[in-house]
């Protein structure tokens, strides 16, 4: 694909690393908060998939949009969602970005083009498709990204969206996090084909990348987004690892010890740390970055604990659009 950079600068790697650390620290805090009963409902954590979130979101411009999955914390945080409004939302507080009405699985931040996490497997795809059509129709120059997992590969909505994106040359990136598990089933048990095969069927440009290598993912995402912006849809399959269960509390008895042990060697943050050291960044600096991420998260958690509970009447008043010029279009 032309003469593009094959590596990133140390500065770019540091930024990506900071993003991954922020996601990791948030997920670690959420695991503890959930275990302690401080998070209502249920949550799906993205340990092991941080490089996909950081890499793909690093390729986006301000006007771009994204829709994500039930395992979407990494994507919204990598896109730049404020930690305070994120934790307040997940902890069901008034100051949450969605007023405590959405929680982990439906968190959205329209100011950043985050159309929302989604509780339905594959449902991010048609949402992002609609956003891509809006970008094209309104000539915003923006690209819409659908994050989805391998579980969505067997969903009809994905197949239909691939067709429409190709048919209309929509500015869209299909960003798949293929972690090999569809909830509790290995992908091979519920999907016969391959994602790249599906993309090829519709004549869509596509590529598979090591989704645990943040540098490789970021570079591939740059190409994918550039392609989507100028030529049409792109399917980017990020091969990655789900470290935790489908949801928190899932004992994962369906996974072998060997598989779980092998996850350590593929830890995206360990891989990126080694690259940083090779690029001349001292271990102390890397440690400081992690410490800083942990502190930001701890501050956000403390602020969320102190925040008020949401007002029921206000929620009721937002079932339909309240009068306001910004809603008119």
């Amino acid at each position: 694909m032309g003469s593009k950079a094959e590596t990133l600068s140390a500065g770019e790697l540091v930024t990506l690393h900071e993003t991954m650390l922020r996601v990791r620290a948030s997920e670690a805090a959420l695991a503890k908060l959930f275990a302690d009963g401080e998070i209502p409902g249920f949550i799906h954590l993205s340990f092991g998939q941080e490089a996909v979130a950081a890499g793909v979101c690093s390729a986006l411009d301000r006007q771009d949009t994204l829709a994500t999955t039930h395992r979407g914390h990494g994507h919204v945080l990598a896109r730049g969602m404020d930690l305070h409004s994120f934790f307040k939302e997940l902890m069901g507080r008034a100051g949450g970005k969605c007023g405590g009405r959405s929680g982990s699985m439906h968190v959205a931040d329209m100011s950043l083009g985050i159309l929302g996490a989604n509780g339905i497997v594959g449902a991010s795809v048609p949402l992002a498709l609609g956003s891509a059509l809006a970008h094209q129709t309104r000539k915003t120059g923006g690209v819409a990204v659908a994050f989805f997992g391998d579980g969505a590969m067997a969903e009809g909505a994905l197949h239909e969206a691939l067709n429409m994106a190709a048919l209309w040359s929509l500015p869209m990136v299909f960003a798949c996090e293929n972690n090999g598990w569809s909830e509790f089933s290995p992908t091979a048990r519920q999907f016969k084909g391959t994602l790249t095969g599906l993309a090829a069927t519709f004549g869509i440009a596509h590529r598979s990348v090591d989704g645990n290598d943040v540098e490789a993912t970021a570079l591939a995402a740059r190409d994918a987004v550039a392609h989507a912006r100028s030529e049409g849809p792109f399917v980017l399959e990020c091969l990655t690892t789900r470290v935790r269960g489908h949801y928190e509390g899932d004992a994962q008895k369906y996974r072998s010890d060997e598989e779980r042990k092998a996850l350590e060697a593929r830890d995206p943050i360990a891989i990126a740390s080694a690259k940083l050291r090779a690029a001349g960044v001292a271990q102390e600096v890397i440690d400081e970055m992690a410490e800083k991420a942990g502190k930001s998260v701890a501050d956000a958690v403390a602020a969320a604990r102190d925040d008020a509970l949401p007002d029921f009447e206000a929620a009721l008043a937002d079932v339909y659009t309240r009068a306001g010029p910004e809603h008119a279009r």
């Binding site: 969605c98 329209m110 937002d318 659009t321």
Partner: protein, 226 residues
């Protein structure tokens, strides 16, 4: 889509979905259903259903102007309706009903293609000395509770009429509200006329019995007067 404003008032989806519904064309089960109650049951959606040429224009216009997703339910049997559209059609407001015929003895609450059935029934009732008022809801979600309750306060009897199957239908909601909020005005239980609880049949002879006709509306109205 329907949850958009709910995410902290961050967004709205100004979307209009036109939904052809209804039978009478011998199109069989899949092309004759009346699904408006499904959509009316989803918080965040609005549902309108025009019965006249002018409303086909005005309600669609109101739906387009609305910031929220609106399902415009259009009876396929009405697509062939001819009528003059005024140069300046009166604007429709979503949630506002219309008195299609004045009356004093019984209120027929209806919408869509069943309006014509109710007007026909009101004519037949007139011949029997019964004055029926016909309320054309026009909008199902939200619906004009005030207009319906005020008509019932005048007539003291009500029958809700729609082509959709009776069970768990729009009529059930309206009858329940009249019972809850207009109980003291009622001289008889609220009647409901709708299709029987079965998929729309294909054969002409079957479908003719499936879709409520004026005779069934007349019988239901007379029952409230017994």
């Amino acid at each position: 889509m329907p949850e958009s404003p709910y995410i902290g008032g961050q967004a709205s989806v100004p979307m209009v979905v036109r939904l052809p519904h209804g039978g009478g064309l011998n199109a069989g089960p899949q092309h004759s259903q009346c699904l408006e109650a499904w959509f009316a049951h989803i918080p965040g959606l609005k549902v309108v259903c025009p019965a006249t040429v002018e409303d086909a224009y005005s309600l669609l216009r109101a739906a387009i102007d609305d910031p929220d997703p609106v399902i415009v339910v259009e009876h396929k049997g009405l697509y062939a309706t001819a009528g003059d559209l005024p140069d300046q059609p009166s604007p429709a407001r979503i949630g506002e009903a219309r008195i299609a015929r004045d009356g004093s003895d019984v209120t027929l609450v209806t919408y869509g293609a069943a309006l014509a059935t109710c007007i026909e029934a009101a004519g037949q009732l007139q011949e029997r000395g019964v004055s029926a008022e016909v309320v054309d809801l026009r909008s199902l979600q939200p619906w004009d509770k005030a207009a319906v309750l005020s008509s019932v306060a005048k007539t003291h009897r009500a029958v809700v009429v729609h082509e959709a199957v009776r069970n768990f239908g729009v009529g059930a909601e309206i009858a329940a509200i009249i019972g809850e909020e207009g109980f003291d005005d009622l001289d008889a239980p609220v009647g409901r006329v709708g299709a029987p609880f079965m998929p729309s049949p294909f054969a002409r002879s079957l479908e003719a019995r499936f879709i409520p006709d004026a005779a069934r509306v007349v019988n239901a109205a007379l029952k409230t007067l017994e």
